[in-house]
């Protein structure tokens, strides 16, 4: 099943890349299309975030060490820490919060 998603997703994403090279100019240059395509990454990345942070294995909302990791990631981004640094800090925070028993 994972392979179906991997290959299906890969084909979709390649088709979208290629689309830009074959599409007639007048379609994509429309201001409304430009606005929607600019907002899509913002909306979907934002929607993915809480789902990955707050949802437990049973599909219900849960507060655990991931939230502590995310708070540290937010502070790191405000302090202009680079991408990999943000990821490492979030992981280390979650690991330490669990190891010390502060949060599950």
């Amino acid at each position: 099943m994972i392979w179906v998603a991997v290959l299906g997703g890969s084909i979709s994403c390649f088709a979208l890349k290629l689309l830009g090279y074959v599409i007639p100019e007048r379609f994509l240059a429309h201001p409304n299309i430009m606005r929607v395509t600019a907002l899509i990454p913002v909306a979907f990345l934002a929607a993915l975030m809480p789902v990955q942070t707050l949802i437990g294995g049973d599909g219900q909302l849960v507060i655990d060490a991931r939230l502590a990791g995310m708070l540290v990631a937010l502070i790191a981004l405000i302090l202009r820490v680079p991408f990999l640094g943000v990821i490492v800090l979030a992981s280390v925070t979650a690991a330490l919060t669990r190891a010390t028993g502060l949060m599950p």
Binding site: M1, I2, W3, A5, V6, L7, G8, G9, S10, S12, C13, F14, L16, K17, L18, L19, G20, Y21, I23, L28, R35, T37, L39, I40, P41, V42, A43, F44, L45, A46, A47, L48, M49, P50, V51, Q52, T53, L54, I55, G59, L61, A65, R66, A68, G69, M70, A73, L77, P82, F83, L84, I87, L89, A90, S91, V92, T93, A94, A95, T97
Partner: protein, 233 residues
């Protein structure tokens, strides 16, 4: 150093930076239940970071194939716009066009846009960045996925927090205007509300789709409102 050599050096530096990010992708792909082969297939075939993280994110939380593919595709839509723009500079045909499409991503397009004073320089920046990111992103993925296999339970190392942190870090530079910030907040709220009510993976599509619609409406209102002079911040 010639201008061309400088552009190539900068492009390789961008590739090196994404390698570090490829390592985190490889590690969290394994934490989400993918095999190293599947992680590598995503980096080689899908080759667009945010979509790859989205796909493994949906799979990792028990979402279905359709929801995972749809989430990846929605995040890949911006590459169509990039390709549309690059087509006017690259003038590629046949197999070259397929290669150009595959390396049409944030980094290669961004570097090309930074050198548009000269079409030749823009083409150099596009290809040099696209190819170096492709090679180093895949090398990073391999390192990350093999390294993760040696770690054991990913949660013990906090790798489950790495996925949402990656989304936050990808989102952060895009929050430069009020419409983007409004859209992000709406998406977060809708995703939290929808998650206990809908099957895994679906809340992301519903929240993301509704947030885009509300974001457009928000921008429309601002453009027509009394503060219309401030919209282009």
């Amino acid at each position: 150093m010639t201008e061309r050599a400088t552009i190539i050096r900068d492009s390789v530096a961008v590739g090196a930076a994404t390698a570090a990010y490829g390592i985190s992708f490889g590690a969290v792909a394994i934490a989400s239940g993918l095999s190293p082969f599947q992680a590598q297939a995503l980096s080689g075939l899908m080759f667009t970071g945010a979509s790859q993280f989205a796909l493994i994110g949906v799979i990792g939380t028990g979402g279905g194939v359709l929801a995972a593919v749809a989430a990846a595709a929605f995040l890949g839509v911006r590459n169509s716009l990039y390709g549309f723009h690059m087509a006017t500079i690259l003038h590629v045909r046949g197999a070259q066009r397929l290669a150009a499409a595959q390396v049409t991503i944030d980094e290669s397009t961004g570097m090309a846009m930074g050198h548009e004073d000269s079409p030749a320089n823009a083409r150099t920046a596009f290809w040099a960045t696209g190819i170096s990111v492709f090679v180093l992103w895949n090398a990073g993925t391999l390192l990350g996925s093999l390294g993760a296999g040696l770690l054991g339970d990913p949660a013990r190392w906090g790798l489950d927090a790495a996925i949402p942190a990656a989304f936050l870090a990808l989102l952060w530079p895009r929050l430069s205007n009020a419409t983007a910030r409004f859209t992000a907040v709406i998406a977060i709220i809708l995703a939290i509300i929808a998650t206990p009510l809908l099957p895994p993976g679906v809340p992301i599509l519903v929240a993301g789709g509704c947030a885009v619609g509300l974001g457009i409406a928000f921008e429309h209102r601002r453009n027509r409102g009394p503060h219309s002079t401030q919209v282009n911040e």
